[in-house]
Symmetry: C2
């Protein structure tokens, strides 16, 4: 019982099934792959693989399809990740060229990834716990109403409308702006709440000071907060029946960033390695028929991830290579 051949059989089953979406039988297997043995032998191997829980048959007289565990083993025994084609590499370089701010770059990345893999793509914003405030701007829009804009040294911008609770003249507003900038400039977003106490203002501006401080604290929290962008939801429809018609819950989950972030966060993370979560390995019930291929990206400490999500019946090697390539590419860009 050549153990090595069984691995080859499993691999062949996964590949054929992914390609055709039909249960694959012993005969078809010996025809398409040069296994050098007869179909009866393959049948024995298949029986063994089924006993191990790696493959299953939908009904008695049908071929076999991989189980989640089968995919798992297939992925684990994947020694080499198929390299991208030259055209794909060029596409990546083309889409991500030029000076881009964070928003624009992640937007492009997520579309690129979804286009390359024909799946749903997710890209998490680089966590900004290390980001520091660069500038605070206060713009009066209406009497007693101000727009507070917070800018970090990572180039992130957040704004919020503030009800001052009093009317403030232009000069006083300028004074407040200077006061806040003096104390907060260079302060980490994680330390903003504490630093706000040091900001002082004339007694008659106390209400305005308090309202602005409150807003800035919330904006800083917003910067810290994890976020992500997604693209390619339409690809789910293609997968259709395969997901057991459970598209609804998936689309719902997509609309709740928190849920998707939790999904990403629950995955194992080995730096510079692509990790794969298959079917029921996923933390959430609604994702039991999907797989997630994820990788972290960015440079030391900037803990962010990107991922591709699709049905468990997915071309893992290609998807994994795309995820890895894109992750590496944008890591390089971010490093500059």
């Amino acid at each position: 019982m050549s153990d090595e051949r069984r691995t080859r059989v499993l691999r062949a089953i996964v590949e054929d099934y992914v390609a055709t979406n039909e249960p694959v039988g012993s005969k078809a297997l010996v025809d398409k792959h040069e296994l050098g043995v007869s179909s009866a032998t393959i049948r024995n191997d298949m029986a063994a693989l089924e006993a191990q829980g790696l493959i299953a048959q939908p009904h008695t007289s049908a071929g076999r399809i991989p189980t989640h565990m089968g995919y798992r083993v297939f992925v684990d025994r994947l020694d080499e990740i198929k390299p991208l084609t030259a055209a794909e590499r060029r596409a990546i370089a083309r889409v991500l060229s030029g000076p881009l701010d964070v928003d624009e770059m992640l937007e492009r990345t997520v579309r690129l990834l979804s286009g390359l893999t024909h799946q749903v793509a997710l890209v998490q914003y680089p966590t900004a716990t290390k980001a520091a405030l660069r500038h605070i701007e206060l713009v009066d829009l209406a009497p007693g109403r101000v727009l507070a804009v917070l800018i970090t040294d990572s180039g992130q911008v957040e704004q919020r409308l503030v009800d001052l609770g009093q009317t403030v003249g232009e000069d006083d507003l300028a004074g407040l702006r200077d006061a806040f900038n003096r104390e907060l400039r260079g302060v980490r977003v994680t330390a903003v709440a504490a630093a706000l106490a040091a900001v002082t203002a004339a007694p008659e501006l106390a209400a305005a000071r308090a309202a602005i401080a409150q807003a800035i604290a919330e904006l800083a929290a917003l910067v810290r907060q994890e976020r992500l962008v997604m693209a390619g939801a339409a690809n789910l429809a293609r997968a259709g029946r395969e997901l057991g018609e459970h598209i609804g819950p998936l689309l719902e989950a997509f609309e709740e960033q928190v849920v998707m972030l939790r999904l990403l966060a629950s995955m194992a993370d080995e730096p510079d390695r692509v990790s794969v979560s298959i079917g029921s390995e996923n933390a959430l019930e609604s994702f039991a028929t999907t797989s997630v291929v994820a990788s972290s990206y960015g440079v030391d400490g900037t803990e962010a991830r990107l991922a591709v999500l699709g049905p468990t019946r997915m071309d893992y090697p290609t998807t994994m290579s795309a995820v890895r390539a894109v992750a590496r590419y944008i890591s390089v860009i971010l490093a500059e």
Copy 2:
């Protein structure tokens, strides 16, 4: 041949079909609605309605379902829009209370609308052709690299990374910022491009000035650009089969704002009226099995729309009232 009764029959068919999703027959009709005549009479009316193209039967021995034209007539003859329940009114007031900036408010509105109607909701950003620049901020992030932030008096904020093409000291940067603000403050976003010519700078800062001017022009264009937010795509999955499994193209369209904006723009628009576009009346092929219920909102000149999108088999009265109520509500808020 009471013409008025035929209208009642059509209405009854639409209501029953929307409720049950099954072809409705003459017998069921006389049972559930007090029409005061026998099923044979109804059959005659149905034959007439079918001749007019308002209803159709999926196959010979089945009941009738409304055609797109049938829905059209049903909607046109709807004299009163069913008022919202008190609970719904309260929900609207609760969700949209408090001081909110534009982003936050539209975000909440779209979720609210999708929740109320159990359909996909779209809310267009108020067009900002009248918006004027309030402030421009230049923040240096790295040597020779600056984040340009543009703030309008409507509270919209746009930013962009700028490659200066030269390194600029802190004082020079402040000088540039003042120069730009001096010339651009209060200028309409539509007139920014022209006004930029008046901004001058020392000869050694020419490259930086040009780069920044270019970025500001693009940011102003971005502000002018129409945008929208969406929510409730998951509700499409529920509609499922009904859309003829054409969910894919719909989801694809959702990812392209331009497409959705075109869809909205192509709809008739009578101020303060809810307009409905049914099935093939929609401008786009992919939306041939859906209906769009839209209304404009905002105050004089601020041409923005919100809409609800769902399968043609939709509860039009309820949807229309929800759309109208939400549109009116946020118009009032925006007016302040």
